[in-house]
């Protein structure tokens, strides 16, 4: 560093710096040292001594060039801005379809489907109390339901992101719909979000889980199947978002996520898959907190580390296989119930951090997300926030605009060191699978969550409206529109329809498919996901697929750690 610093520093710099330092010490008094959320100490000023100087090329590279610190594509947001991928899902498939067609009319080229919590939990709608159905996502249990949900949607042209945990019944339904519409599977594109079962075991208990071992098996079958038969589908999205929302620091979330990706990569290698083929289909999904510079540095360091790890640990040989493609979502946990309109400012700040960090796809939270499932107006403002940042703020004019900032380059290096320490901890514990099984990662996240809450409780960390700048209760919350719940009669009709469907279908075909599925689960060479696709084509429902695999492969209880 010092040698570099000498090259960089203009004449007289040292004297000027000493002068500033003395003035600063005199005026600042005994202010407490500052640390970011990841625990990296933050200096009051950064100067040329942290400039990478001659190491610039190998350390940063240019956009689209290894190690991708400055971005994974030569054009970044100048060429193509991020995809605006808002999560949607509500009510019955027909209600979802109405909303999605409106979005497509408005120019959307990428859609998402969030299923109802009952789907996440592995149930069909006829097994669940009516008030809980369709409140947070769409109730999709069969290929028929998916056909309704995607009615008049050109599935060969539009990219579809499914929140579709193992055993991936939603993709299975889409492939069934493709067959019905004579669309070749090669034309189906999109992503299996929530395919990262390790993140669910560790940090998010929203999803039904097979036993760890079963989940590992089914994911590998799914990846192998998609690489062979659905080549434009991303079968894996590695998720850091759950961990950060559960309380992991930004550096921990990045470190754990890279460890998960390494685990999946190694599992694919062991399966005999080619890293240059599967790695370009790995995508990442991260939380973006309020800590703006820290988030930018997190993403820059993550890109650099993944470029290295894919080469050193997974044997990637093409540049494409080493690109770190990621979707970002603004942090719901940073939003406040108090003075909810303030959340628009928070979401804007977080979105800026993600954009400056070089993301490929973005979801901005609605300001009322901390109160209910977003209403129409808040959801519109969330989309408008992205549009304003893209069209008015000039954020896309320059690639990696914070690159070369003494602070940001230094912070990127420091975050990288902190992330590497996290990776080392997990790798020394036997890798992410073993670390999830033992509860190590859960414990680390729990400790960070408590430490953060403690900072808020003690007032060390100020949160506007929560522990400072409060307003009286009666002056608060007027901006929040009332909660809209799905129409009960429509949902009841949907449940009745599923019951009729179950009675009317060919029971022999259902039994045969379930037998084949169970046999595949107990074999070592049959592909479980291929049998799921056959089963749902024969009318087997989501809940029945899960019940069968749960029976054969076991259920993954959450590990509760103190």
């Amino acid at each position: 560093m010092n040698r570099r610093a000498e090259q960089q520093q203009p004449k007289g710099y040292e004297k000027a710096e000493t002068q500033w330092h003395d003035d600063y010490r005199r005026d600042i008094g005994d202010a407490q040292p500052v640390h970011n959320r990841s625990g990296v100490p933050i200096e009051p000023l950064y100067g040329p001594s942290t400039d990478p100087g001659a190491a610039h090329l190998e350390h940063l590279g240019l956009p689209g060039q290894l190690p991708y610190t400055r971005g994974i594509y030569p054009t970044m947001h100048r060429g193509q801005t991020w995809s605006q991928r808002q999560l949607i899902g509500h009510g019955t498939p027909a209600e979802y379809n109405e909303r999605v067609l409106k979005m497509i009319d408005a120019g959307t080229t990428a859609i998402s489907l969030i299923p109802c919590n009952s789907v996440y939990r592995g149930n069909d709608c006829d097994e669940i109390p009516l008030p809980l159905l369709g409140t947070c996502g769409t109730v999709v249990n069969t290929a028929e339901h998916m056909d309704h949900a995607l009615s008049q949607v050109d599935i060969a042209a539009i990219s579809t992101a499914m929140n579709d945990p193992s055993p991936f019944t939603l993709l299975s339904f889409v492939l069934n719909v493709a067959d019905r519409r004579a669309v070749p599977w090669q034309q189906i594109s999109g992503t299996s979000n929530q395919s990262d079962y390790l993140s669910h075991f560790i940090a998010n208990h929203m999803f039904f889980r097979l036993s760890l071992e079963g989940a590992r098996r089914v994911l590998l079958d799914h990846i192998a199947f998609c690489r062979e038969r659905v080549p434009n589908w991303n079968p894996l999205s590695v998720v850091g978002q759950h961990m950060q929302q559960a309380g992991a620091t930004p550096a921990q979330a990045m470190g754990f996520t890279l460890c998960s990706a390494l685990q999946y990569g190694r599992d694919c290698l062991q399966r005999g898959l080619d890293p240059d083929d599967f790695l370009p289909r790995f995508t990442f999904f991260f939380d973006i907190s309020m800590s703006l510079f820290e988030e930018v540095a997190k993403f820059r360091a993550g890109r650099r580390l993944w470029a290295r790890l894919t080469l050193e640990q997974l044997g990637a040989t093409t540049d494409r296989a080493r690109r770190f493609k990621f979707h970002g979502q603004t942090s719901g946990a940073d939003l406040t119930r108090q003075q909810p309109l303030n959340n628009i400012a928070r979401v804007t700040t977080q979105a800026i951090a993600g954009i400056l960090g070089g993301l490929q796809s973005l979801h901005t939270d609605a300001f009322d997300e901390v109160i209910n499932v977003p209403n129409e107006d808040p959801a519109r403002i969330a989309v408008a926030t992205q549009n304003i940042l893209r069209e008015e703020a000039g954020l896309c004019d320059v690639i990696d605009p914070l690159g070369g900032s003494w602070y940001v380059e230094n912070l990127t290096d420091e975050m990288e060191k902190t992330i590497v320490a996290v990776i080392d901890t997990v790798e020394n514990a036997g890798g992410m699978y073993a670390a999830a099984e033992s509860g190590l990662v859960q414990r680390m996240i729990g400790e960070s969550a408590l430490a953060w809450q403690d900072r808020i409780d003690t007032g060390d960390q100020k949160i506007v409206g929560v522990n400072c700048y409060r307003v009286p209760e009666e002056k608060d919350n007027h901006a929040v529109p009332p909660t809209v719940r799905p129409a009960k009669d429509k949902m009841q009709a949907h449940v009745d329809q599923l019951r009729r469907f179950k009675t009317d279908r060919s029971q022999a075909a259902v039994q045969q498919s379930l037998t084949a599925l169970a046999r595949a689960a107990n074999s070592t060479d049959d592909n479980v996901f291929a049998r799921v696709v056959e089963a749902t084509a024969a009318g087997v429902t989501h809940g029945e697929v899960i019940a069968c695999l749960r029976q054969e492969l076991g259920f993954g209880q959450p590990l509760i750690v103190d």
Binding site: I128, C136, Q245
Partner: protein, 142 residues
Amino acid sequence: MNTQTPYRVLVTKVGLDGHDRGSRIVAAYLRDAGMEVVYTPPWQSVDQVVRLANDEDVDLVGVSSLSTDHLIVPDLMQALRKAALEHVPVVVGGIVPDTEHALLFDAGVSAIFGPGTARDTIVNTVRQLAAAARDALENPFT
């Protein structure tokens, strides 16, 4: 107030959702405040919560909800009454839309803690409710 044995509190999640950051933090708050916390994983059914409340002899039940599971808390209140546990106060924490507070209070919920509720508010309210419930049980005629 009976201060000889610490209050026992069940911290749980009913229904379908699994976001447990809130329930874990509140469990730690109550433990730090000297209470005994019976903590469950998410996804409990109403019947499981009733059984635990009974078997563990708790002074209070805390239900955490993030995505609409609070809508089955009225069912829980009814099931507690049926099991002759109506003396056990129930508090709900998490995301409950303002327009649905009445639904829970009418069903007999004692308190709702929204996001950002101060630690002291939670701890003190839980302690007071648990103390009142225990007093009522131990001295039914005073």
